[in-house]
Structure formats: structure tokens, C-alpha cells
Symmetry: C2
Subunit: 211 residues, 2 copies
């Protein structure tokens, strides 16, 4: 079922609108595949674009940081734009002009709000990074939780844009003796590297990495 949320003035895609989607399931999948997002916001020094780790719980995207972070303070005072992009391939067409990329991107507008229940949300973050690990590590203490700020933004005002598949060449270029197709890109998970002093056997979330 391809449900769709009507776009706002900010999320109405105008360029290459045939690649746009307002399907929440696609939005969730793009967010869940991300380790970091890029956040654009403006303060007295100008407009900034800062990468930060993110995770999703239900209909919100979460970020965290130190209480002293100027960005986190700023993000509670004004609207911002959060963007996630996955590049899936280089699309080689028969003409230079028709070259493009395959990608999945999500652009979210809104304002971050403070999250009171830091423990539950940060445990969800750990589960995103390494499923099952929270029960194995030394949990956060009161001082560590007190030093950490967690914010969330609703996923309601958002647009996705995706492209996949082969090149779209002009009809008159189809007869040219030029290789056309896609050079795929994806995320590779390498062999886990234990810390030098680590003598503990690798748990399941480590053994499964890259498997």
C-alpha cells in the first residue's frame, strides 16, 4: 500500500518532481538506513550545515549531544531542515548530458524539541547502532545522562526523492557505440577490529556485522 501525505509549501518538490514521494514507509526506510543526517540551521553567524548521528523512533527523528552544544540550543529556537542522502550508483548514459546518479534522499522540515525521557531514547539509539548491546555495556550513570541533551523532530513535514534504474538516453543516442548502465554503490561493513586490550569474545552484534 503506497500511502502518501500531502506536501507542504516547503516540501513540494518542483525539480524532477517525478522522483518525489511523500510515502511515510519510504521516509522511514531512508532514515533507518542512515548513521548520520545533515542539519541546516541559521544563527547570528550565518547558515550552517552540520552532520550528526540520528535514529528513528516511530514518527520522530532523534539526535543527541552535549548540553553545551550551540547547535542543539539553536535547534530548539527555530525551524531547521534535516537531510539524509544515500548514493546508490553512478548512472552512465550515452550522452554526457544524461549522466546522473541513483539515490534515496529525505528532506525534513520542522523544529526540534527537548526529549525528557533520555534513557529510553538513548537505549533505542544503542539498539540502532548495535542490536542487543545495551544489556552488555556499562549503562549511563546519572552524571552522563545529565550532561546529555536529546532532541527530536517530527517526520510529518518531509519529502523523499529517489532515482533508480538504468540511464534515460535520448532516442537519437540509442544507436551510439557507448557503454551505458549503472556503476552500483552501497555501504560495506568491514571485519570488526577489536581494541588492543580487548580479550572478550565477540558478541552476536559484532559477529553479525558484515555477515
Amino acid at each position: 500500500m503506497n500511502t502518501s501525505v500531502p506536501p507542504s509549501a516547503r516540501t513540494q518538490v518542483k525539480r524532477a518532481a517525478n522522483y518525489a514521494s511523500y510515502d511515510p514507509a519510504l521516509l522511514h526506510a531512508i532514515v533507518d538506513a542512515a548513521w548520520v543526517c545533515h542539519i541546516a540551521f541559521t544563527d547570528a553567524h550565518g547558515t550552517h550545515c552540520i552532520p550528526t548521528a540520528c535514529w528513528r523512533i516511530g514518527e520522530h527523528l532523534y539526535i543527541h549531544g552535549s548540553n553545551g552544544s550551540r547547535m542543539l540550543k539553536s535547534l530548539m529556537e527555530q525551524d531547521c531542515c534535516v537531510t539524509i542522502t544515500h548514493v546508490d550508483g553512478i548512472v552512465l548514459a550515452r550522452s554526457a548530458f544524461n549522466h546522473t546518479m541513483n539515490y534515496r534522499s529525505a528532506v525534513i522540515y520542522g523544529r526540534f524539541a527537548l526529549v525528557e525521557d533520555k534513557r529510553v531514547t538513548l537505549e533505542a539509539f544503542m539498539d540502532h547502532l548495535a542490536p542487543g548491546r545495551q544489556a552488555q555495556v556499562r549503562a549511563g550513570n546519572d552524571k552522563e545522562y545529565a550532561a546529555t541533551t536529546v532532541l527530536r523532530i517530527a517526520l510529518t513535514e518531509a519529502a523523499c526523492k529517489t532515482r533508480n534504474g538504468p540511464p534515460n538516453d535520448d532516442a537519437e543516442d540509442m544507436g551510439l557505440a557507448v557503454w551505458a548502465g549503472v556503476l552500483p554503490l552501497s555501504e560495506a561493513r568491514g571485519t570488526p577490529v577489536p581494541a588492543a586490550e580487548c580479550t572478550v569474545e565477540a558478541p552476536e552484534h559484532v559477529r553479525r556485522w558484515g555477515a
Copy 2:
């Protein structure tokens, strides 16, 4: 030789400043490893964060798009922030609090300017995507070049931030029976996928993809 450019008010890294670098060689390497950058800019509708393909020639980062792009118009009228982030691994520490990521990021401030010599710069873009391909494809015609805008921004006001290596655990956590180390992430290049109608033998830039 680790040369370094003095930071500006906007590029002076304040948080985790020990990870900051103003070395142009590192900046170039981070830009060259990227297929896309994220650009933050502000217009009458708010602050936006838009991903777009990028490439480097010397001391400038280049982008391109349709003449009709609202973003490209806006970027010539005001300063913006261009950010590139590569996530290199998930860093698993013995305590929840000390988990982090390994990454290489670059943040560039400034204003884009129109590039007059579109042919030379777009050929460099093709060389970035697929070395040697420009001579094999149907080159851009006058109409295609006329419809395309190329912009560039100087790499002079920029900061890099990188982290690599094992977790930094608290001394009192080192004896805990918790696996600690890094789960590596990198870019994977998959087997090239020829377009359905393509009967041309793969050229070197396709054969070498992923090799």
C-alpha cells in the same frame, strides 16, 4: 608536511576541537572522496539542506544544475555552508556513554560564483565520475550547455573534523567484560549493470569499477 590555514570565526571548531584540522590536503581528500555534498542556504521560505553532486578542481568545489534551479540562483546571492561527511565506522566502547563514530567531515563557508567555462569544468566532473569516459560519450551540444549552470565555491574558509581509531574508554571501565572495538564502514562498488539494450563491450572505467 602538515600545512594549516588559520580558521575564521565561522570555521573555528569549538566542540571536540582535538578532532579539527585546517590542513588543505585533508580537505581535498575529503572532497575528492565524495559523490555528493549537502548545501545549507536560506531563502524567503526558510533554511534548506539540499544534496547535490560535487567535484573539485584545484582550490574550488563545483556543482551544477539546470538554469531554472531556485537553489543555484539563491546560492549566488548569499553565503552558504557546504558539508561533506564520510562515516568510517561505529566505535563500540565499554560504556554506553563513550560510544562514538569514526568519520571524516568537511565544512566549507562562502558564496558560490558563476563559472563561465562550463565545458572544461563539466569535463572534469565526468572525469571524476568515470575517468576517460568523456572521449567516448556523445559530448554536450550547445543547447545542453546553454541549459546548464555551473557554480563554484572557494575552499579557503573551511574546517575538517575527523575521528579514527579505537574507543576511548574511562580508566575505571577497562576491566569490564565488554567487547570493545570498531565496526568498520566504507563504500562498496558493486558489479556494473549494463542497460538492457547495451551490447557495447565495457570500457576500462567500467571494468575497473570495484576492482
